[in-house]
């Protein structure tokens, strides 16, 4: 058999359920841990960020309005699709992070398990942090968690796949929609994840993946008036400070960067960080006539 020509993959952004190139037309070279060229990734501009926010906002109504049970099924479906493309992700993670094949396989397994873990939480988180409150009056008083809205996520720089999923899954599990900035050095697993999401019942716009210079894309997102929260996991100290100041203008919720071992089972903090609590007072029924004291 003669030698085949190589078929290189064109990595593209994932915005609004579609795979556009960067509006700017720019790309940058992505290398493996040893500095060998792997592929060109889109170098997103602030306009790509703006378009992603529009897509995320458009998707928010449907996704936050879907039942928690349905969201759980959709997230579980993501895990199923990942399972089928494991080999590709093992290769991409190994190249991106300079891991041995066995180590990379362990990372991918942990990542798939992370999706399943969060898929299970979608319809349980409300029982844990919501509920009926005791009040001294003839009322039912109920608290229920609600998604915050559009969340900008700066994915961790080092853990290009497990770290990415560990910050994105909790955001969408609770009904938010996300604009994700992939790891600057290793964006390929994130861009491939877009392809998985597109084929796994996640409505377009719920997750939008941008690649490029984190500082360049994050600045307009932090200042954007239609972004409700920002997760700074992938920002260094100086950038995080700058973004937090920009985010103050419309009182965004900010999750500061913190040291995390992504292999450990996470708590529910990443989910509660982007939930708001709605409390409803409701008069109890028969009190007026009977005069019963509640």
């Amino acid at each position: 058999m003669s030698d085949r020509l190589s078929v290189f993959k064109t990595y593209k952004l994932y915005v609004g359920g579609k795979f556009p190139r960067s509006e700017s037309g720019r790309v940058y070279e992505v290398t493996d841990a040893k500095g060998n060229w792997l592929a060109n990734a889109p170098l997103s501009s602030r306009k790509d960020a703006r378009d992603a926010v529009v897509a995320a906002r458009k998707a928010f109504g449907g996704w936050s309005g879907a039942t928690a049970y349905n969201r759980g099924q959709v997230l579980y479906r993501v895990a199923e699709m990942l399972e089928g493309r494991k080999e590709q992700f093992v290769r991409e993670v190994a190249e991106a992070e300079g891991l041995s094949k066995a180590k990379a396989a362990a990372v991918v397994d942990a990542t798939i398990d992370r999706w399943v873990w969060y898929a299970g939480w979608t319809d349980k988180i409300a029982q844990v942090i919501g509920g009926a409150n005791p009040v001294a009056g003839p009322y039912f008083n109920l608290s229920s968690p609600e998604p915050t809205g559009v969340v900008a996520v700066l994915a961790p720089q080092e853990s290009s796949f497990l770290g990415l999923v560990s910050v994105v899954a909790p955001v969408i599990a609770t009904g938010n929609t996300a604009v994700v900035i992939a790891s600057e050095k290793a964006p390929l697993p994130a861009l491939s994840l877009g392809e998985v999401l597109a084929t796994s019942d996640v409505p377009g716009g719920v997750v939008n993946v941008l690649s490029g210079r984190t500082a360049e894309i994050a600045a307009p997102l932090a200042a954007h008036q239609d972004v409700n929260a920002i997760d700074l996991a992938g920002a260094d100290e100086a950038l995080a400070k700058e973004l937090e100041i920009a985010a103050a203008d419309n009182l965004k919720r900010v999750l500061r960067p913190q040291a995390v071992d992504y292999f450990e089972t996470p708590g529910i903090e990443r989910m509660t960080a982007f939930l708001e609590t709605k409390t409803v007072w409701h008069p109890t029924g028969s009190l007026g006539a009977s005069g019963s004291s509640y």
Binding site: R50, H224, Q225
Partner: protein, 332 residues
């Protein structure tokens, strides 16, 4: 550059008589002269027209030019609500928005007008009193235009009596498509008479229902001959509304009409223009086709409702450097 041929030049090439102002006086003498004139208009080069409109849409308008264009576009908006469910409260809210489009920034220009159904004119008039914002009213059995002439005229008189500054009439597309041009002409002339001196008349062709560019060109000339102060693309109630191509065609018609008859007529694309980018494309069309004489809300308007919010968000972005969002404009 592929442009549609200039009107007078191509008439000459086609061998048809070059019309003069004198000739225009006779064309409406009878149904047959009118038909001969309208069918003698040069055919539209559809491919050239669309290519020209598309190429003008690629201009990049940035920074100060963009700021100018946004303010100009805001001042050209006919803020419209034409729903069966319109309430006096909704019309009042619309009036307040027309007067102060962005309450957080009082340097924002007012819109040109609010556009409502005839029975809401009095309410709208009160809501914009003293602000310079005009009140436009659709009339003549909008949007279908299927009613007897007397009914249509009564509709117009009612709106004018209530204080409407502008009347947006629809032409009888059925009569136009059946070739009864004089009937359409007489109807427009009668409505124009009913408007009197107090109201300007906008004539809506519903370009989406005229099916060909040739028909749009004919309708434009017919409307202008009959005394329209404005020609307007659409009602916003059918699938195809204002497009850059059909607006460009109408702009060419008003340009040629002014050359010929010495009368300037305004143009109003309506329906389907939702973003600042779209609006700026239309302004480029105006500037490149008819020039600065039309870059004023006396001669060019946008019939729109959601466009204004996008213009305001872009204006806020230019002012603050931060992208704005729908939380910072009204929900209409």
């Amino acid at each position: 550059m592929p442009t549609s041929p200039k009107f007078s030049a191509s008439l000459g090439q086609g061998g048809a008589p070059t019309p003069t102002a004198h000739a225009l006086a006779d064309v409406t003498a009878s149904d047959s002269t009118l038909r001969r004139f309208l069918h003698g208009l040069p055919g539209v080069d559809a491919v050239g027209l669309e290519a020209r409109a598309a190429s003008l849409g690629t201009r990049s308008i940035k920074t100060t030019a963009k700021a100018y264009a946004i303010d100009l576009a805001i001042s050209m908006v006919d803020l419209t609500t034409l729903e069966g469910a319109d309430t006096p409260g909704k019309v009042r809210a619309l009036g307040a928005k027309a007067v102060h489009p962005d309450p957080t920034d009082r340097t924002t220009p007012t819109t040109a007008a609010v556009c409502v159904y005839p029975d809401m004119v009095a309410v709208a008039k009160e809501a914009v009193a003293g602000s310079g914002v005009k009140v436009a009213s659709v009339a003549t059995a909008f949007p279908a235009g299927r009613a007897a002439l007397e009914v249509k005229l009564a509709d117009v008189r009612d709106a004018v009596a209530a204080g409407a500054d502008e009347i947006d009439m629809v032409i009888d597309r059925g009569a136009f498509l059946a070739g009864k041009y004089l009937k359409v002409y007489d109807e427009i002339a009668a409505v124009k008479a009913a408007c009197g001196d107090s109201a300007r008349l906008k004539v809506i062709f519903e370009t989406g229902e005229l099916s060909t560019y040739d028909n749009i060109r004919r309708a434009s000339w017919l409307g202008m001959l009959a005394g329209a102060d404005f020609i307007k693309t659409s009602t916003g109630k059918v699938a195809v509304n204002a497009t850059p191509a059909n607006t460009l065609l109408m702009l060419e018609a008003v340009r040629d009409f002014r050359d010929l008859a010495g009368v300037q007529v305004g143009v109003k694309p309506a329906g389907g223009i939702r973003t600042t980018k779209d609006a700026i494309k239309f302004l480029v069309l105006v500037n490149e086709t008819v020039g600065e004489d039309w870059l004023d809300n006396h001669w060019f308007r946008f019939g729109a409702s959601s466009l204004l919010n996008d213009l305001l968000m872009q204006r806020q972005k230019l002012a603050t450097g931060r992208y704005s969002g729908p939380d910072y404009v009204t929900v209409d």
